[in-house]
């Protein structure tokens, strides 16, 4: 990954610099017009969050059952990134909904699930920070439960609230929008890879620092 870091960084930077133009160029959606453009970074942010959650869950399981310390670092990094991108989605979503639905917030399946996953992974970070000894394992359990909770929350909220305004949430993408959307998704995914790399490196350096301290005091 270190070898690829600079090229990937360059491509991502270029894509992010070009993204405003690509998004501005994309055709207007017929009913929501301008505000629909939030879509181009709102949905990719959720893609990143879900990828991060699954990485966090699976690597947590690897840590728990195989005792691989590096897997724990990956899970931690992914959890933190999931919270950051979840916050992005949770803030941009209501801004879009205000215009498209007329309300800031709807208790529909997707929104509720997003809020809950955000809560679970904030819990993960909190227990990591303040949980004391053994918190890595507890947070790993949290990540696994968080990952497995996805279908349950989705199903239960879907039955609880079946008023999802389907017309506005997933617009059938026209050819121009399609390109712009996947452009954004790829840009966000590359960014995710870069952030993961940096964040995992931070954890590895921290572990190395701990080892140094241990080596100093026999």
């Amino acid at each position: 990954m270190t070898r690829f870091f600079l090229p990937v960084f360059g491509v991502t930077a270029l894509m992010f610099a070009g993204a405003p133009f690509v998004i501005a160029d994309a055709p207007y959606e017929s009913t929501m017009l301008l505000v629909q453009k939030i879509f181009y970074f709102h949905v990719p942010a959720w893609f990143v969050m879900f990828t991060a959650i699954f990485i966090s869950g699976i690597w947590s399981a690897r840590y728990l059952f195989k005792g691989d310390r590096n897997a724990d670092r990956v899970a931690f990094a992914a959890a933190e990134i999931a919270v950051v991108f979840g916050l992005m989605g949770l803030v941009t979503g209501p801004l879009w909904g205000r215009k498209a639905w007329g309300v800031w917030w709807q208790w529909d399946a997707r929104l509720t699930m997003a809020l809950l996953l955000e809560a679970i992974f904030i819990g993960y970070l909190l227990v990591r920070k303040y949980g004391g000894p053994g918190s890595e394992k507890l947070s790993a359990a949290m990540a696994i439960f968080g990952m497995l909770n996805v279908p349950f929350v989705y199903i239960s909220v879907n039955i609880w609230r079946t008023i999802h305004p389907k017309t506005s949430v997933v617009p059938t993408l026209g050819p121009g929008m399609f390109g712009a959307f996947w452009f954004s998704v790829i840009a966000f995914m590359l960014l995710f890879a870069l952030l993961m790399h940096l964040r995992v490196r931070l954890e590895q350096q921290r572990a190395a620092l701990d080892d140094l301290y241990l080596a100093e005091e026999p």
């Binding site: 929501m32 939030i38 941009t92 007329g102 100093e216």
Partner: protein, 95 residues
């Protein structure tokens, strides 16, 4: 802690700068106030979209920049600490 603090400060800043932006929108009649059932809204609500879009865009950029900056500063701190430690105990580096 520092990271959480930074994030919360950032969040508040965006909220505080975003609120006047949103507040400056011309009120589009009673329909835009508070929670209104979906079906009672007029089909083309006259709520300007630009401030919403700009706020969303600005938030994403500021959050990303802040997060990258936070990772970088934490990394710098850890590496600086490692350097001092290695200077203090030259033997430990080789171990």
């Amino acid at each position: 802690m520092t990271m959480l603090k930074k994030l919360s400060v950032l969040f508040l800043t965006v909220l505080l700068t975003g609120a006047p932006l949103l507040a400056s929108q011309p009120p589009g009649g009673a329909a835009t106030d508070g929670f209104v059932p979906l079906d009672s809204l007029p089909p083309q609500e006259q709520l300007p979209a630009a401030p919403l879009l700009v706020t969303a865009y600005a938030f994403v950029w500021v959050l990303l920049m802040a997060y990258i900056w936070s990772i970088a500063s934490r990394l710098r701190k850890v590496e600086a600490e490692m350097a001092t430690l290695q200077r203090r105990t030259p033997g430990a580096a080789g171990r």
